[in-house]
């Protein structure tokens, strides 16, 4: 036990609490009385865990648990959705860069609205009465953790499949890069007019609230992205890395060493999470703990949650819980 260990007991105030108190001090309308802070906290935890927005997305959105800055999240998703997911890899990025992207306040969805054609809307997630029903509706056999195969999930949600086509406009994309402060990267000219089709299959989210275990398992067939011939994934990936703050040289080197056709890159701000590679039933996965690092005690990301991401046999899985890392890993390995 030393000074550093004693400081480890620190944790960052909840962002909502910090924001609401600041609003109150500034005379804003979003008042928070001291008596309802605890209620707000409970409410906030519920939102974090059960928000339809969280449920609505595919496993890609599970990453938002780690990347909490909306524009950066959007950029990350736009970027990451270009890949078929066979394995996950972490990319540690500078939190200052995430803040920069956040401050840009880019509404990428709106900016690209004219370029996106929705082929299939996923709709709102809906509850299923049983795992079997969820399997039927999702179109795949829903896996459950063997350790709790006899326990009924407290909630089963099914998110429908979605698909869209993005018609690339190099001029607009180049302008976006400029706005993001990237002045020395060129969007490939051959990308102009290219149609990129993104298909997100149905996803199922099982929530267990057992006496000794509380966790959420999300699963979905891997998102599929159809790219026209001539579009260099590596080139696009390198540009994405630049957006995420890597230098030209680093982005180039990194891009050369990634299998862009199958690697789901997870950008993680350096001060918000501890990441390690794990083996989940022979599959390479990532374990992300959002509050394990000492540096994190001053960050606004003080969640105690652990997220395990892995892919296996064409399926991608995300297991989120607040229990012991070893227990969660064991739980992940028992999913079948």
């Amino acid at each position: 036990m030393d000074d550093e260990f004693l400081k480890n007991y620190q944790q960052a105030p909840r962002p909502e609490f910090a924001r609401q108190l600041q609003d109150k001090l500034n005379g804003g309308t979003n008042m928070l009385t001291t008596n309802n802070v605890a209620k707000q906290k409970t409410w906030r935890h519920n939102v974090m865990r059960w928000s339809p927005a969280l449920i609505a997305a595919t496993l890609v959105l599970a990453l938002a648990l780690v990347i909490a800055l909306p524009p950066a999240r959007a950029l990350a998703q736009d970027f990451l959705n270009l890949f078929r997911v066979k394995k996950f890899a972490a990319l540690t990025i500078d939190p200052a860069r995430m803040k920069q992207l956040d401050n840009l306040d880019l509404d990428t969805e709106k900016l690209l609205a004219d370029d996106v054609e929705i082929l299939q809307k996923p709709g709102e997630p809906t509850q299923a009465a049983s795992v079997q029903e969820a399997s039927e509706r999702a179109g795949f056999t829903v896996a459950v953790p063997a350790a709790h195969s006899n326990a009924a999930p407290s909630q089963i949600l099914v998110q429908g499949a979605g698909a869209f086509v993005l018609t690339a406009d190099t001029q607009k994309l180049q302008a976006l890069l400029e706005i993001a402060g990237i002045h020395d990267a060129q969007v490939p000219a051959q990308l102009n007019g290219a149609k990129i089709t993104v298909r997100k299959p149905a996803a199922v989210m099982l929530t267990y609230k057992l006496q000794r275990a509380k966790f959420t398992l999300m699963q979905s067939p891997s998102p599929e992205v159809e790219l026209p011939q001539g579009v260099e994934l590596k080139q696009l990936g390198e540009i994405g890395l630049r957006v995420l703050g890597l230098s030209q040289a680093d982005a180039h080197n990194f891009a050369q060493n990634v299998d862009w056709s199958s690697t789901f890159l997870v950008p993680i701000p350096a001060n918000v999470a501890e990441v390690r590679q794990v083996n989940v039933n022979g599959a390479e996965g990532l374990m992300i703990n959002a509050s394990a690092t000492a540096q994190n005690r001053r960050s606004p990301y003080a969640e105690g949650d652990t997220l395990i991401l892995w892919a296996n046999n064409g399926m991608v899985y995300a297991l989120q819980g607040s229990g012991a890392a070893t227990d969660l890993l064991e739980l992940a390995s028992s999913v079948q």
């Binding site: 036990m1 000074d3 260990f5 004693l6 400081k7 480890n8 007991y9 620190q10 944790q11 960052a12 105030p13 909840r14 609490f17 910090a18 108190l21 600041q22 109150k24 001090l25 928070l32 001291t34 008596n35 802070v37 605890a38 906290k41 006496q211 000794r212 275990a213 509380k214 966790f215 703990n289 394990a292 005690r297 001053r298 105690g304 652990t306 819980g321 607040s322 229990g323 012991a324 890392a325 070893t326 227990d327 969660l328």
Partner: protein, 184 residues
Amino acid sequence: MSAQNQSLRAVINLTTTNVNVDWNAVYRQELPRVYNYFRYRLGDDALAEDLTSATFEKAWRAREKYKRDLAAFSTWLFTIARNVAADHWRTHRAHVSFDALEKFSAPDSPHDAYVHQAELAQLGALLQQLNEHERELIALKYGAELNNREIAKQLGMSESNVGTTLHRIVNKLRERWDSTIADE
């Protein structure tokens, strides 16, 4: 001067006559320190939020008078925080104490007590076993990250006495920690 106060001075220009204070920056700087002071002191997150709110509300109402003496702002803020804590102890002592102990002594579920969290919970439990004065010192040192000189000023002790006492408390915590580990 602690790193925090140096940082605070960085966001507050003390050299100009008409000081432009970025109170939002001050808030961002001080909030985690006040919040963690209460967490170490009382061992309850929700309560720490309540008392942090109360502290800032009191401080914010009168903050303008510190425009020309902002070096003292942090000291003043923690004086308010300590008074808020003392008021709370006077009226809720049994309740808080019980809740905190219950919370920190209950990491019995494998899922609720993975290694890091279990260690922190154990530390939380040990902190709650300290007497009030000891806990106050630990909260100011490790929660608020005040330096010994600042703590001395807060508690009316000499700086050397603060250092000696903290050393003794940390040793006590260490012994209890080792003893707990040995028992397991």
